[in-house]
Amino acid sequence: MLHTVNKSPFQHTTLADCARFLRSGDVVLLLEDGVLACQVGTLHVALVEGILQRVAVYALGADLKARAITELIPGIQVTDYAGFVSLVEQHKVHAWL
């Protein structure tokens, strides 16, 4: 399962909600305002690190760049739109809108 999260963790609980439904082999893709969760030194680092211990976490590079997020929590993998498409091809998707 590919779980996409596109909302800021500072305004929405979607990332934490999503975390409760993760299974081994699942993937989380952070995009749009969802990439705000990638930053180091925020309130939500522990949440993201907990997710990283269980599943792969990707973030969309274009959204990181747009928000000047350069320092990521270690373990988060940066992908592009082609990578996004590949993930969608490989997994069924649940969009945590």
Partner: protein, 136 residues
């Protein structure tokens, strides 16, 4: 999404928004009914604020909206048997099983049908079995 369902597809609709503040819940219910009409095996899952849509006693008369009662009644007519609610989402919102509304009657026995309260793990496992998941 496939427009023609040649063999039976498993399609889940997840409802995660609170009712009445937006049209998401109504859309989710309608989507579930539509895909069921095409012969899909539909599961309808209420999680996060979506659990409020299953609270009994909702009265939208003064809002001037039609509410969900008719849509819930239609679930049984479309043979949507799998209506699940996330136990944790209910608990943190102060809801118990006694707060849930009935989702219609069994066509044969006339018994009231209820949403089934389940753990996140069961929902996650069911998600993994789906051909598609529509989120609302």
């Amino acid at each position: 999404m496939r427009t023609v369902l040649t063999d039976v597809k498993k399609i889940m609709c997840t409802v995660r928004r609170a009712p009445h503040g937006s049209i998401y819940v109504q859309e989710g219910l309608e989507a579930a009914l539509i895909v069921a009409a095409y012969g899909a095996e539909v599961s309808l899952v209420f999680m996060d604020d979506g659990v409020f849509a299953l609270k009994r006693g909702q009265d939208t008369q003064e809002l001037g909206t039609k509410g969900f009662a008719a849509a819930y009644g239609a679930l049984m007519d479309h043979d949507i048997q799998c209506v699940l609610v996330d136990r944790h989402a209910m608990a943190v919102r102060g809801m118990t099983e006694a707060d849930l509304l009935s989702i219609g009657q069994d066509a044969e026995t006339g018994e009231l049908r209820w949403p089934r309260v389940v753990e996140a793990g069961e929902i996650a496992a069911l998600m993994a079995e789906q051909h598609s998941i529509l989120s609302f």
